[in-house]
């Protein structure tokens, strides 16, 4: 429009139009205005829609009675409890399956990752096949597979597969013994705690002595003896106060012991084996990122392979491994929401699933659910950034 008027007045206007700073501010204002407009529009629409559909608003529903049962709960829960309590039941279930999943996935992942680098051709190939097969199948497919095809195919409790007469596999879940703490078991636990404390002290002492005299101390053996041996001795002395309650078949199901429901088991196996495949790749590339020269240099100084691993290779590989490893942990936690596909009562299934279904309060419920996952993600990435800034290799 400035093109039409060639008068002197056009110049300053042109200048305003082509000043990058002012232009930037203008763009940003437009963008903000659009966002605000969208926000208002959404809010108004939501208000009319909710009124039209007679859906309540606000968080009052959290105090209402849920009225549905949950097949796994770490805290006391019954149908007459509130939606608020259901939220915590679900959250705890999410956390518990994630925690076990992370531990298992890490163990399997490191094992497979190291196996891929093995100088045994066969095991390296096998590990590679594991990674390729697992990574290239959808997680939900794997969850359903474990739930329907593997655990669902187990016999009824009456014909349960028994492992050493203590663990029973059936289509009702996996029943394992439950520890019973009798009189005097406090002593055993105290011995266990004492073992840990003494080990820590021993570590300091061994380090100090090493620095002074150069003598080394077999800390691993000592720690094993103290942490495992000492409680065992106390246990024998106190006449075995800690016993186990074995699961027993009564009627159509097992009583006693602890039963892991099939939903939990299937989800746990699928999540951990799936994530393990990704972790294995991370571990492999982390170890490979440490150049061969590092190992050779350590060997040429006379360091033994074990020491070379623990003092040269692993510290360097960990810097490469930990950031993507954390994001895999996050993925596992987020993926645990697929529980809803088989009915494991995690946060998503009981809250965004059943509760949303019953109350219809989609906005509040989904906002809270998303917020929980977001908070977990943000805390983890904040920790990660802090860790990274601490461990950055110093470069020129």
């Amino acid at each position: 429009m400035t093109g039409e008027r060639e008068g002197p007045a056009a110049r300053p206007r042109l200048a305003v139009l082509y000043n990058p700073k002012l232009r930037g501010i203008f763009y940003q204002l437009v963008l903000l205005a659009i966002m605000v407009w969208l926000g208002i529009e959404f809010a108004l629409n939501a208000k009319t829609n909710l009124q039209a559909q007679k859906i309540a608003t606000g968080f009052g529903f959290l105090d209402n009675t849920a009225g549905f049962g949950v097949n796994q709960s770490l805290i006391a829960y019954q149908e007459s409890d509130t939606y608020g309590r259901v939220f915590f039941v679900g959250l705890l279930n999410t956390l518990v399956v994630s925690a076990f999943g992370i531990a298992l996935a890490t163990a399997i992942g490191f094992l497979v990752g190291v196996a891929r680098l093995s100088n045994n051709w066969l095991i390296a190939r096998l590990a590679g096949v594991y990674v390729e097969v697992i990574r290239n199948l959808p997680l939900l497919f794997q969850i359903l597979f474990w739930y329907l095809a593997v655990l669902g195919a187990l016999p009824a409790p009456r014909n349960a597969i028994s492992v050493l007469d203590g663990v029973f596999l059936s289509n009702r879940g996996i029943a394992v013994p439950r520890p019973l703490f009798g009189e005097g078991s406090g002593l055993v636990l105290a011995a266990f705690a004492a073992g840990i404390v003494v080990t820590l002290m021993l570590r300091f002492w061994a380090q100090a002595r090493q620095e002074k005299t150069g003598q080394q101390f077999p800390l691993g053996c000592a720690a094993a003896g103290l942490i495992l041996g000492l409680p065992l001795l106390v246990m024998i002395a106190a006449g075995f106060p800690i016993g186990f309650e074995l699961p027993q078949l009564r009627g159509f199901n097992f009583v006693g012991g602890v039963t892991m429901i099939p939903e939990f088991t299937a989800l746990l196996i699928a999540l951990s084996t799936y994530t393990a495949a990704f972790i294995a790749e991370i571990v492999r590339s982390g170890i490979q990122a440490v150049s061969r020269g590092q190992t050779e240099a350590a060997y040429s100084l006379g360091l033994k392979p074990g020491r070379t691993m623990s003092m040269v290779v692993i510290p360097q590989a960990m810097r490469v491994i930990i950031p993507p490893l954390t994001s895999q942990y996050l993925n596992l936690t987020k993926n645990s929401s697929l529980a809803v596909g088989i009915g494991y009562p995690d946060l998503f299934a009981v809250f965004a699933g059943t509760t949303l279904n019953q109350t219809g309060q989609a906005i509040e419920i989904l906002a809270v659910t998303m917020a929980v996952y977001l908070v977990i993600s943000l805390i983890t990435s904040a920790l990660m950034n802090w860790y990274n800034s601490r461990l950055q290799l110093v470069e020129r």
Partner: protein, 380 residues
């Protein structure tokens, strides 16, 4: 000094290379060096062999040797009729095949789906071959024209084509529609977000960061629920949005966030000099990005984009939780058919489903690896 000089043995003439002692070369040497180089290794080898045996034999038995290849109903796949233990019941797959591929898309209109698949393949194959010419035109056709054509072909309702409700879509069709739409929409969105995240305007940058981190921080299933249950509440009640479309919106937003991070990685790999050289030529922001930076950056991130696509392809299975029956969903529904209820139906279904997903994902991951290797060699 002269004394020691004598001790160095100097070859009188260059001798020919000798073959290694048998223990080193040859198959025997290979086995000794790679499988039996120590006691622990020998044990590992034996355990691995046992593992392979324990997995491969039942698998082959199930898939091929004991499998039933033709039949008309459940009776043909029962051990009583077959006379031995039954492996896979392939007639079940045969009977459900059309459902697995098209869902309940009307029989007589299957050609429209086939045509769409064929068109997609014809455009995609040359796009994936690095040496094929006319990349620019090809990309425009695939990312710009193909989605529109596919939309009219599949949905119908104009050009004399009969309208087909998305409710009757299903199977592989839905899987591919969701995955391809996700990628096609998320690529431009992701590029914009990535540019925004690197912008110097604080409001733009802030908004992009919040958008990206938000979608990356929540599980996809919450996004699908958001799109299914929450989104309609935010829109005027006069709009009725198709269930599949809602899911597509959710998937596109979600994968745009991941795409943005992939593209950002590519942008970061472009040296500053490129920006400076473009500015020195007098190019503005959009010209610099569009002509100089993005073409290089996008080439670098092709493997990342393909990996994103693999992730998306696997994630499409989640739509079954919001009652849209993709490939896996159709398979699950097929299990419930009493006409085919046999002890092996479930396993046959999982085997077929697994093979299909694996073939898709594995070939794409190999492709991504191939592009990555090519990039690595051509850049050094």
């Amino acid at each position: 000094m002269t004394g020691t000089t004598q001790t160095a043995y100097v070859a009188p003439a260059i001798t020919a290379p000798l073959p290694p002692p048998i223990a080193v070369g040859g198959p025997v040497g290979w086995v000794r060096g790679n499988l039996l180089n120590s006691w622990s290794n020998a044990i590992v080898t034996i355990v691995s062999l046992y593992l392979i045996w324990a997995v491969a034999v039942p698998l082959i038995n199930f898939l091929i040797i004991d499998a039933v290849w033709d039949g008309a109903g459940r009776a043909d796949c029962l051990p009583e009729k077959v006379g031995h233990s039954v492996g896979a019941c392939w007639p079940f797959i045969g009977a459900k095949f059309s459902q697995l591929v098209y869902g309940f898309y009307p029989w007589n209109l299957h050609w429209r789906v086939d045509l769409t698949f064929a068109l997609g393949a014809v455009l995609l194959v040359p796009l994936m071959i690095p040496r094929a010419p006319l990349k620019m035109l090809n990309s425009i056709l695939f990312f710009g024209v193909f989605p529109i054509v596919a939309f009219f072909l599949l949905v119908g309702g104009s050009f004399g084509l009969e309208h087909v409700e998305t409710r009757s879509w299903g199977g592989l069709l839905v899987t591919l529609v969701v995955a391809v739409t996700g990628i096609v929409v998320s690529l431009p969105l992701g590029i914009l977000l990535a540019l925004g995240r690197r912008s110097h305007m604080p409001a733009v940058q802030g908004m992009c960061v919040i958008f990206i981190e938000f979608w990356r921080g929540v599980p996809l299933i919450t996004v699908l629920f958001f799109a299914t249950y929450m989104l309609p509440l935010f829109l005027p009640n006069t709009w009725t949005i198709d269930a599949l479309l809602r899911v597509l919106v959710g998937v596109a937003l979600f994968s745009a966030a991941y795409m943005a991070e992939v593209v950002r990685g590519g942008l970061q790999a472009i040296p500053r000099g490129q920006f400076e050289a473009a500015s020195a030529l007098g190019l503005g922001y959009w010209k610099t990005m569009g002509l100089i930076v993005l073409p290089q950056a996008l080439r670098l991130v092709i493997p990342g984009i393909v990996n994103n696509f693999i992730g998306l392809f696997k994630d499409t299975t989640l739509v079954l939780i919001v009652s849209i029956f993709d490939f896996l969903g159709q398979m699950r529904a097929a299990f419930a058919d009493p006409n085919w209820s046999t002890p092996v139906t479930l396993y046959t279904g999982f085997a077929f489903c697994g093979i299909v997903y694996f073939v898709f994902c594995f070939s794409m991951s190999r492709y991504s690896l191939f592009v990555e290797r090519r990039l690595n060699t051509s850049h050094r």
